[in-house]
Symmetry: C2
Subunit: 463 residues, 2 copies
């Protein structure tokens, strides 16, 4: 039997170990960071390791690796497993195509383009639209920023930045906006953080006011980032209002839907993106609400010309056959690029757009279950709102930072805290669509039991 | 049985299909780009697809997807399969950790750090060194450029670019250098392309001359990109000489080893990087010479301070527990980040550093086999040199562009062409370490037979 066949058998054996472990211990055995290297043999050495020892150390690693697919993981804006997406990503590992040319990626090019085409159609972008699969939401925002910059000042591709190009984003938006301003040579000081309303949505009148100020100072408004699902509260900026302002001042409008842009699949929730067809670019992460493995991020651009203008580069050694439309390297930041599309395609193809809709809708239903529970229990106070899958709360005035840390350290459940204005709270994310209503209620039970049992520790942690 | 178990069974079944297909048809059935959508049902639809039809369409896709792991694929700077790396990457899909925090990645953080530590040790970087796993070689070069820019002009993080920061790279270097200059707001016009010698290596005296010219013009030399394995010829720039110039003018020296930096594992070939310990940053792609699945790119930085200065950002919602050294998101471009380290670790752990050395050395042995063959056959002319795994040649004065395209279109073997100075030639890359000497000789036989059989077509294609 070939070595590969052996290792595929080992893979199957280890998956069984992993799935059993997840069943029996939904929260992984935690190893303190400072004793990690003493606890598991992670060392790389000159000599080969015997197969049996290798298998044992892999098992140790599997057991101790945080479990992001179980019903007690609520810490991130991803979680769970969509098994048809797993299938696609496993195949992508074996196929190992780089997505730059049709010669090397073949039908995988069509797979990527079909996802992009259907996504553009869902948001009402026209026939000039296209997109690509960046490596994540930060990179999607970055690509949008670079396109906006180059559209406003085409000479900067050749000559570099020569004037102050201004970026607008809400105070509740993702931190990549600040980093990206630095990376793109535009500078963090040129980012304007627009005030939000009490529900975390950008106040469009404040945006208008700020643009007027910048224009009066002879600065150049260049890029507006609106958010569909802010990182903490899961709020949706009013795209329709913002789009009017963007149009009036001829400023690029990007909608960062990394977290919740997947509402494009939901008849019930698509209205949260009202006006999206007026944006210049839109991104969403299928590895968040859709539940594919990491990473599966898309950026869609209303006029594909901008993708070409900012990202194409001739390279005779690479682009040798087939047309530009099939040589995807001409519209990506990267050169070699992993196939992030197949996992999304296998899921979408097998369950249909209606299946994706169910995945998205179910997360909102789970959030409703959580909010209803909180409302009925006076020991809780809530900090988030309808139409959000981030359910933010505090319990019995216990310091949420201490609570989340203790829940993690005691391997009870994995959840994090968030901040908005002057409040700090637990941020409970119902993004794992494989969870049931019972899983959601179980989380609160687990949390309450923990507090009950550890009252003395938490006494000192009242906020 | 759970849906996941079913899909894992389907995965195993499809892998068997794929491996059989690779055995019987090492070059995939080619579909003309313009009939792709009519030939395979890639469409995404509203409704779910029945399991049987889904399986059939997946088989169609597998059969038609270009095969990068077989012994007739020589088109890219990657190829083949290292089965222990496949194992690691399959596990990474199931584990699905994002690499930003210890809370969510746990021991995977240690896995990544151990690879970085050992790599830094191999190139003689000291105790202040560290690194990260960018999404590819272009991104590695970009991160190096941003660090160089920020080190030279720290105010640009806050205020943006305000002066001409000059970039130096050889004419034979990767095209990402031009793109990156644009992305970073520095401008393509500020890239100086330094002449190479006849073997494709940067001429350091020309670099010195150009820096003197720029200084005389009050410009700011900021970044030197040296290449360890140029894209076409596989040449190594003289790092030791370049490092002296970089030091003299206080300019950041990055060594782009995306293609051939993995010679750090070879006692016989490490001398090609002489002076590497004097560089400020160094990158290499384990998905190229080491043979892991895409992507597995590392950037190592002599002083980790620069990684933090350019890439860190506070985010209370994210970094909540454990120390900065274990929260890797503080030194990455991205926020959410796929686990690209595990596949490299499983390979390295199982076969040891000595095993990696064998992989690297074998590629040079295969290149020697190819070069020896070419030298003995007067119908060939060669365009590349010793110490390179890019074997560049022409055959019987046949236009290499036409030859490569026809070999591809007739599904004979997959290989590309390259250009250097005024020459165009076939670039045959011996990077698949699972190939044998016989596979290399077979390539030439296949090529010669094809030319013999298709003499009439190729007559018109003489260069």
């Amino acid at each position: 039997m070939s070595e590969l066949s052996n290792d595929l058998m080992l893979f199957n054996e280890l998956v069984t170990v992993l799935l059993n472990e997840e069943e029996n211990h939904p929260v992984a055995k935690r190893i303190e960071a400072n004793v990690l290297y003493d606890t598991i043999d992670l060392s790389l050495n000159k000599s080969a390791m015997a197969d049996n020892s290798f298998k044992e150390v892999l098992k140790d690693i599997l057991v101790a690796t945080p479990k992001t697919a179980t019903n007690l993981f609520f810490n991130q804006l991803f979680g769970g497993r969509q098994s048809k997406a797993i299938l696609g990503d496993l195949l992508a590992v074996l196929l190992n195509n780089s997505m730059y040319t049709y010669k090397v990626a073949g039908p995988q090019v069509g797979i990527e383009q079909e996802i992009i085409r259907q996504s553009c159609h869902l948001i009402g972008y026209g026939s000039q639209s296209n997109g690509t699969f960046p490596t994540g939401g930060s990179m999607s925002n970055y690509m949008a920023l670079v396109m906006a910059r180059d559209a406003k000042d085409p000479s900067c591709r050749e000559n570099g930045i020569t004037k102050s190009l201004i970026i607008y984003t809400s105070k509740a938006s993702h931190y990549s906006n600040a980093k990206n301003a630095s990376f793109a040579g535009m500078g963090r000081a040129n980012v304007r953080y627009i005030e939000t309303d009490t529900k975390g949505r950008m106040i469009s009148a404040e945006l208008e006011k700020q643009i007027q100020i910048d224009l009066a100072n002879n600065l150049t408004p260049t890029f507006i980032n609106a958010t569909a699902g802010t990182t903490v509260l899961g709020a949706f900026d009013p795209i329709d209002e913002i789009a009017m302002i963007a149009k009036k001042h001829n400023v690029w409008l990007h909608v960062d839907g990394a977290y919740c842009g997947s509402v494009i699949f939901s008849d019930a929730k698509r209205h949260l993106l009202k006006g999206i067809e007026k944006s210049d670019s839109f991104s969403y992460n299928a590895h968040k609400m859709i539940g594919t493995p990491l990473t599966c991020s898309l950026i869609l651009v209303k006029d594909k010309k901008h993708l070409h203008d900012s990202f194409s580069n001739d390279a005779d050694y690479l682009y040798q056959t087939d047309g530009d439309d099939f040589n995807l390297g001409k519209t990506s930041f990267q050169c070699g690029r992993r196939n992030d599309a197949l996992k999304f395609w296998t899921l979408w193809k097998s369950i249909g757009t209606l299946g994706l809709e169910k995945i998205v809708d179910h997360q909102f239903e789970l959030a409703d279950v959580a909010r209803n529970y909180l409302e009925k229990h006076p020991d809780y106070s809530t900090y988030s709102y309808e139409d959000s899958i981030s359910v933010c709360f505090n319990y019995k005035n216990i310091d949420p930072k201490a609570l989340c840390t203790l829940l993690y350290e005691h391997q009870i459940t994995v959840v994090g805290f968030g901040e908005f204005n002057d409040d700090t709270f637990v941020r409970f994310v119902t993004i794992n669509a494989t969870n049931t209503k019972e899983d959601i209620l179980n989380f609160f039970k687990v949390l309450e039991n923990f507090v009950e049992e550890h009252h003395p520790i938490l006494e000192t942690a009242v906020c």
